[in-house]
Assembly symmetry: C2
Amino acid sequence: MTTGHDVPRTEISSLGEFGLIERLTSGLPVYNESTLRAVGDDAAVLGFGEQRILLSVDLLVEGVHFDLTYTPLRHLGYKAIAVNVSDIAAMNGKATQIVVGLAVSNRFSVEALEELYAGIRLACERYKVDLVGGDTTSSTSGLVLSVTVIGQAAEADITYRSGARAGDLLCVSGDLGAAYMGLLLLEREKAEFKANPNMQPDLEGYDYVLQRQLKPEPRTDIVEALRHSGITPTSMIDISDGLASETLHLCKASSVGCRIYENKLPLDHTMISLCQDFKLVPAVAALNGGEDYELLFTIKQEDYQKILAIKDVSIIGHMTAESGQAHLITNDEQLIPITAQGWDALKMR
Amino acid sequence: MTTGHDVPRTEISSLGEFGLIERLTSGLPVYNESTLRAVGDDAAVLGFGEQRILLSVDLLVEGVHFDLTYTPLRHLGYKAIAVNVSDIAAMNGKATQIVVGLAVSNRFSVEALEELYAGIRLACERYKVDLVGGDTTSSTSGLVLSVTVIGQAAEADITYRSGARAGDLLCVSGDLGAAYMGLLLLEREKAEFKANPNMQPDLEGYDYVLQRQLKPEPRTDIVEALRHSGITPTSMIDISDGLASETLHLCKASSVGCRIYENKLPLDHTMISLCQDFKLVPAVAALNGGEDYELLFTIKQEDYQKILAIKDVSIIGHMTAESGQAHLITNDEQLIPITAQGWDALKMR
């Protein structure tokens, strides 16, 4: 009864996440006038009357995106909402509603799911997002969370990946690479705990990098500060897969190049000292470590003075006319091509 | 490192899907004016300006909702869209956009996913829905599909579960129980194939019930016919978990009771003859078999003449003032309480 297809077999890993999405969604027709922008940005843009609605979905899969041996369910629920709010922030919009799809095995108790929902509720309260629906079902193994978010923005405010121009300044909020170092730290403690279950985890002094990994906060404050300052970024994306990968997305979508200066990368001191422990170059961790959920955006040069007044934003480089050419200028003034070695959710860990 | 919670453990199965959802989502606050109706109907209702937006999500989990030994991936993709379009139809709206979340293990090839997307595209074309985004990730086991649908409706047209009144006529589109008999048939052939792999499946003559199970069609035609006839149902729901379960949802949400007549239940002749094979009472299969994706709705008595003119709709009973009391009047005029024995996605099969 099963199908014995006589078709070639291409491994998903050979395409990667973005290649696969391109292959599956190329040439999609549009039937509805309300569909203004479909696949290819942080969120789709829909137009109903005068309003612009932003729409995005994220899946979180146990064993791929999180490890429950060190991720409290409450944090997981919070993070599931936070990363979706971040997708809407990356479009320069405000998240308003979410629906949650949940597949759970019978390993989980009702109390465990209440913990998960406590985190979801907390994030909803923090970001003033309404949980308006969902679907709950069993799974044959583990936990899968699917969060779809709806957001709002005025048409003139919406920021796509494709609007960067040569000469624009490249800016990033917060600091980079700390969420990745938090993950490495948790993985190291897990390995040591497995080797010696009587061991006590040594996480003291690492609150910041752990919080960056376990409880990221979307930068809705930056979206508000930009609006307050009268800056509309020319392009924007949130950093989920690493600075390198996201920079290349902006360059590709905008048909520009860019130069990033190593000495301009915003790095936290705990993150730097952890990099020394792990024998990593901090700039490499900042470029390739994912899950910072900071905003990466470009602005016109004329907004330079305005951006200086916004706290917690760094200018890390500028866009060039060399389409697709992204380079890092190192501290010793070498020019190194930036390639996407960021975290790909389709590469099995 | 793991948490040794000292909390009581309540099994999810002890609450069931609806009990669990109620427990997790009770007392949810609303922060946004645009949130008009949240958890508790086939879709949430959002208001942006004059427009009403409908929003719903459905998860399909391998091993729970589908079995790939007899479900072609193309059919699965089609069905994933169809069941979501049905949720919007159940609100008396028109589905306009979807986003698809996909978690796949490396068991699947790119070609397999192209088959899945071919089905998704086909359903999108058939129902004029735009695929506008998604998230694709790996999974540690099997395939999980999460489909979120956006729909539109004028405020006056939106039909909730809660609007039924005593005396209203209870109507259903199409026929009932065939999707369930299709599933039983496929399960039987699978068991026989396992026992004897050289066996050829004996599915001839069963096209109708198989199509009902593998390729359900949402009743957008009924939504259009109702509008054309000037009928706005007083309440409506789609039949995913079985007539009994959905009837009880309408009764509970509307604080009414109902009587359904066994001899009015619309049954297909192949379905009846399969019931004889499986030694099942057809009315029981119609009441408890799920996945028909027909529309169950109530109308005012004054719309009686109008409804007669709509093809493929049956009046199967009427609502009563006895809140929560749903009864079946059997062919031999017995009065049997209707209980929800429908398919519960949280009971592991």
